[in-house]
């Protein structure tokens, strides 16, 4: 006899109460980051110089700005998922764990938000 309810089975809920959601989100963001990071590294590598005017002109180009926003957003999400896993594995005291997880989430939203806002400022020339 199974102790799992049919509803729990349909929702994919295990003992952690969120099923495979974290695992799956990590894979989806990983796949998305393959083209995004390659584009970013290749773009910087092939720019004639990395001085202020050249980089600003490159990032003002709509497609560059758009892809850069996606890169920062998906990177921050993927990084948040990964570092959460590290904290969950190694920080065992409940209070410390909550503090670490909370700080990590805030830090990722802050850094990602600041990065995206900066790209938009360059793109819209403010």
């Amino acid at each position: 006899m199974s102790l799992r309810s049919p509803l729990g089975r349909v929702l994919g809920l295990g003992s952690a109460k969120d099923g495979t959601a974290h695992w799956w989100a990590q894979r989806v963001s990983a796949v998305a980051l393959i083209p995004l990071t390659l584009w970013f590294v290749f773009s910087l590598w092939t720019l004639p110089a990395l001085d202020y005017a050249t980089v600003r002109a490159w990032l003002s180009f709509p497609l560059s700005g758009f892809l850069a926003v996606l890169l920062v957003a998906v990177s921050a999400y993927h990084s948040s998922l990964g570092t959460t896993e590290v904290i969950e594995d190694y920080v065992h005291s409940a209070g410390m764990r909550v503090l670490c997880l909370l700080s990590l989430q805030f830090l990722h939203v802050l850094a990602g938000g600041a990065g995206i806002f900066a790209i938009l400022r360059v793109a819209f020339g403010s």
């Binding site: 393959i34 590598w45 202020y52 990964g82 570092t83 990602g112 900066a118 360059v122």
Partner: protein
Amino acid sequence: MPARARPTSPHLGIYRWQIGNSLSILHRLTGIALAFGLLALCYWLVSLAGGDESYAEAAKFFASPVGLVGLVGWTFAFLYHLLNGVRHLFWDAGYGFERTPRHASGWFAVLGSIALTLCIWGSIWAGHRS
């Protein structure tokens, strides 16, 4: 309470080191390094939006010895995490579990990321000199 401590899953003290667990640990370490890389990327972007002076300040930091070690380190961390991450995705899809492809792909991830890091920074160094 049981009379004796229950056996636990492999602990580092009795675990024989091999390519599999080393690369797994390296994947996590490079992931943590890349989380700091994300901070550096966002700092760089904010400095770019801030104008000529703040960008020059950030560029000075990245050109300093500490900055350069960071950039080369992040290049390697990114390339290794990318190649080994693709390896993980293949495993998730159910491929590459046999001993030969598992070891071959592991060495490919390590040597490939080292070679690509040298390529990228070699070309930057050559371009800088010319």
